[in-house]
């Protein structure tokens, strides 16, 4: 792969998951180049917590599964390492403590929406493409490192779009396994 050897490029990882109800969760990581062209895709088999975990983790079970279990596994297994991993859930910024790769969360463009993701005013923000990204606090160096490459991403790039691709791909894998 031409892209894997480039250390000066910007490879974006898009990490998200899909709930399968009683069957648990599947997670996917799509690594693209700075233009959104896919380089590698990793996904997990369904991960289903047991009853003890459900009771003990309570409301933190989701972030635990997606972050510690799914996210960390996918990032570790990726052969094309992303320069920056993008997530849609703020809790997943904690994943940064377990990996050396910068993690950033997409900030909702419509902050008035009910499900809008809101961050404090003093959060570490960077504009990339059409979106505003928020980096994990205490990792200011991440922001500076990515800022130096931000011009590689076109201003009209919609960074929320690849998450849709990951979800569609996860649906395909789930359907293939069910068949």
């Amino acid at each position: 792969m031409a892209e894997t050897g480039k250390s000066d490029g910007l490879r974006l990882g898009f990490l998200t998951s899909l709930s399968l109800g009683e069957r648990g969760f599947v997670g996917g990581l799509l690594v693209t180049n700075h233009m959104g062209r896919p380089l590698e895709f990793q996904c997990t088999a369904p991960v289903r917590p047991n009853r003890t975990q459900e009771i003990l983790y309570g409301p933190t079970l989701g972030p635990f599964l997606l972050g510690d279990v799914i996210g960390r596994t996918l990032i570790e297994k990726a052969t094309v390492k992303p320069t920056l991993v993008l997530v849609e859930v703020p809790q997943l910024l904690e994943l940064r403590a377990q990996t050396s790769i910068p993690i950033a969360c997409l900030e909702s463009t419509d902050l008035k929406a009910e499900d809008a993701v809101r961050f404090p005013a003093d959060a570490l923000r960077l504009r990339l493409g059409m979106q505003s990204l928020v980096f994990a606090s205490d990792f200011e160096d991440d922001l500076e490192a990515i800022r130096g490459k931000a011009n590689l991403v076109p201003k009209e790039a919609d960074l929320s779009e690849p998450f849709g691709r990951v979800r569609d791909a996860l649906q395909e894998t789930v359907a293939a396994n069910a068949a």
């Binding site: 062209r37 896919p38 380089l39 590698e40 996904c43 997990t44 991960v47 009209e156 395909e172």
Partner: protein, 610 residues
């Protein structure tokens, strides 16, 4: 709490348990009347008592699946075109401007646009194949201002066509003429090359269209090297198998000849074979069709605006080329419909080009001039007598010759030079030239075109007439088109249906004249669509000359009645050009031909096909 404390804190008491015993009749005493004397002593527990379970968080071992994408071909970025070179291009203008790029900090953020996603083809069964398509970015973001610079923003239906072609291993793109089949094909090729899906492509087209394809590749995919198959036999043999040639363009004749001469083991292999003007292989028994079918390829696309010209069997031949039916397969109409829904993409202008300027068709029924009428009547009378005298030995060829003769006289009387059509053309062209407009004229005969040119130069030189037909050497054709486009004094381009009807972009012409009518409206529509296509800014006025009370009027009537016969095969939409040309029965029926046989009278026309 430990076992020691448990023992220390326990109190023991002796409890008198008086149990009443009864003496059974047998004399056995059932109970002993003695008190229970429980005693206790400390006993060490085996293990310490623990009340918490021995559990701590453990990390799941999660199985994963991975897919790595092939690297696409890298091309050397093209040099910036010189201004004068860029001016030579026949560029297709699209209505929508490219998305604006905000320059200042206060500029509003770009808004999200419609996304055309690639869909996995139905035949893609493996999860890897399906994910390849699902994970590709939307075409709009793939193309627009990013890695693949497009000179113009494609229309939404073109994005759909590109996405469809990209996913298809067998495809018949049958868009109506003028909707941009060439551009969609080039862009899909570009995407396939870029994503590493194909590396060697063979494009077969009619010889006159090769410069057109080169020009379009230069416009839409400047970075892709295009090699044209030409030269002597040794050079061509080298070109056929030369590595590192992403796109090879050959004409049908060279393809047929070279493939037939080449030993089978030496024949080249291609990732994609594209047939432009694919109706060339509609006759499945022809050498061209057989050779095209035999070319080794992984994908095959066929391009034609007229997938059916005469018979449904022509579709079968195209499907056989695409290898979606077995050799010599004969699908019925229902099967053809199913195949079409899966492998054919056809859009008509009425459906997609709501913003294309309208086309106005004007059927001009002209009375022949007196001398012309006299010549026509004489020829008709003489011809019919001759045909009747031939009796049962008459063939369609004999009738056909008479039709041609009468059509020629309807154009102009060769003896006197009188022509009602010419008079009318002269009047129209005077007005068009005065207003700076441009017109193209089509005729079936090169001789007639040369005659019109002679007359126009003689009587209306300000029309600046130019001639473009099969008699003009190939090298002179491009300069003629260039002059017609750029010279403000050139107002009329005289073309033959055979040479000018396909592939040319003449959207700067607002007038089309059909001096005589072709046998098949599909060919006429192809001709008209040289002008009525994307990029046309004004309405297109199409004037069809029809000589009244002649064979032309009869042919026109028959063809109009047959225009929608194949609509069901190609699905919905107005099928303006899927139509039949005249069959033998109808050509005989143009004249009231009777042959005397004994006392009775019988029609010499062959029985109508069931």
């Amino acid at each position: 709490m430990t076992s020691d404390t448990l023992t220390d804190s326990t109190e023991f008491r002796t409890i008198p348990l008086g149990i009443n015993g009864e003496v059974f009749p047998s004399g056995v005493n059932a109970a002993l009347r003695r008190p229970l004397a429980p005693e206790s002593k400390p006993v060490g527990l085996v293990e310490r008592v623990t009340l918490l379970p021995a559990w701590k968080p453990t990390r799941f071992k999660v199985p994963t699946f991975s897919l790595t994408f092939a690297a696409g071909l890298e091309f050397v970025p093209p040099k910036p075109a010189k201004e004068e070179e860029a001016g030579e291009l026949f560029q297709v203008q699209a209505p929508a401007p490219l998305i604006s790029m905000p320059t200042g900090g206060d500029a509003p953020p770009p808004t999200k646009k419609k996304a055309t996603r690639l869909k996995p083809p139905p035949e893609a069964l493996s999860i890897e194949d399906r994910l390849f398509y699902v994970l590709q970015p939307p075409l709009e973001s793939f193309l627009r201002g990013q890695e693949l610079v497009m000179p113009f923003e494609p229309f939404p239906y073109q994005y759909e066509g590109i996405a469809w072609l990209f996913s298809q291993t067998a495809a018949l793109l049958a868009d109506e003429m003028g909707l941009g089949k060439t551009m969609q094909t080039i862009t899909a090729i570009r995407l396939l090359l870029r994503s590493g899906q194909v590396r060697r492509i063979l494009l077969i087209c009619p010889k006159p269209l090769i410069p057109n394809w080169q020009r379009e590749f230069k416009t839409w995919a400047e970075e892709i090297p295009v090699t044209v198959m030409e030269g002597d036999g040794a050079r061509r043999r080298m070109l056929w198998n030369m590595p590192g040639v992403p796109v090879l363009i050959a004409n049908y004749e060279l393809m047929t000849r070279d493939m037939e001469e080449m030993p089978e083991a030496e024949r080249p292999k291609f990732d994609l074979l594209v047939l432009d003007d694919a109706q060339r292989v509609k006759n499945r028994g022809s050498r061209t069709a057989e050779t095209a079918r035999g070319i080794n390829r992984r994908r095959a696309w066929a391009l034609t605006g007229t997938p059916i010209e005469n018979r449904p069997e022509e579709m079968s031949s195209l499907f056989e080329f695409l290898q979606v039916i077995p050799p010599e397969g004969t699908p019925d109409v229902r099967q053809l419909m199913n195949l079409s829904s899966r492998f054919v993409l056809r859009r008509t202008k009425n459906l997609v080009m709501t913003d294309l300027p309208p086309r106005f068709d004007r059927d001009e029924y002209l009375l022949l001039n007196p001398a012309q009428q006299h010549a026509y009547n004489a020829a008709e009378k003489e011809g019919i007598i001759q045909l009747n005298e031939m009796g049962d030995s008459i063939t369609i060829q004999h009738v056909f010759e008479l039709v041609l003769r009468l059509k020629q006289i309807s154009n102009y009387d060769p003896l006197t030079g009188e022509s009602a059509k010419m008079d009318r053309l002269m009047a129209d062209m005077e007005e068009i030239a005065a207003s700076g407009g441009k017109a193209i004229l089509f005729s079936q005969w090169t001789k007639c075109i040369d005659w019109i040119k002679l007359k126009m130069d003689e009587k209306l030189p300000e029309a600046g007439s130019l001639v473009y037909h099969g008699g003009v050497p190939t090298k002179q054709r491009e300069p003629i088109l260039k002059q017609f486009k750029e010279d403000p004094n050139s107002h009329l381009l005289l073309m033959s249906y055979g040479t000018g009807a396909v592939g040319l972009n003449l959207q700067f012409a607002g007038y089309v004249f059909l001096f005589d009518r072709w046998w098949n409206p599909a060919v006429e529509d192809q001709a008209i669509n040289r002008a009525h296509r994307i990029g046309q800014k004004t309405q297109v006025i199409v004037t069809k000359f029809i000589s009244k009370d002649t064979v032309e009027e009869k042919i026109d009537k028959v063809l109009n009645e047959k225009r929608e016969l194949f609509a069901q095969i190609l699905g919905g939409g107005e099928q303006t050009n899927a139509s039949l040309s005249l069959n033998a029965s109808e050509i005989f029926g143009l004249f009231d031909l009777k042959a005397r046989a004994g006392k009775g009278v019988k029609s010499i026309a062959p029985p109508k096909a069931a």
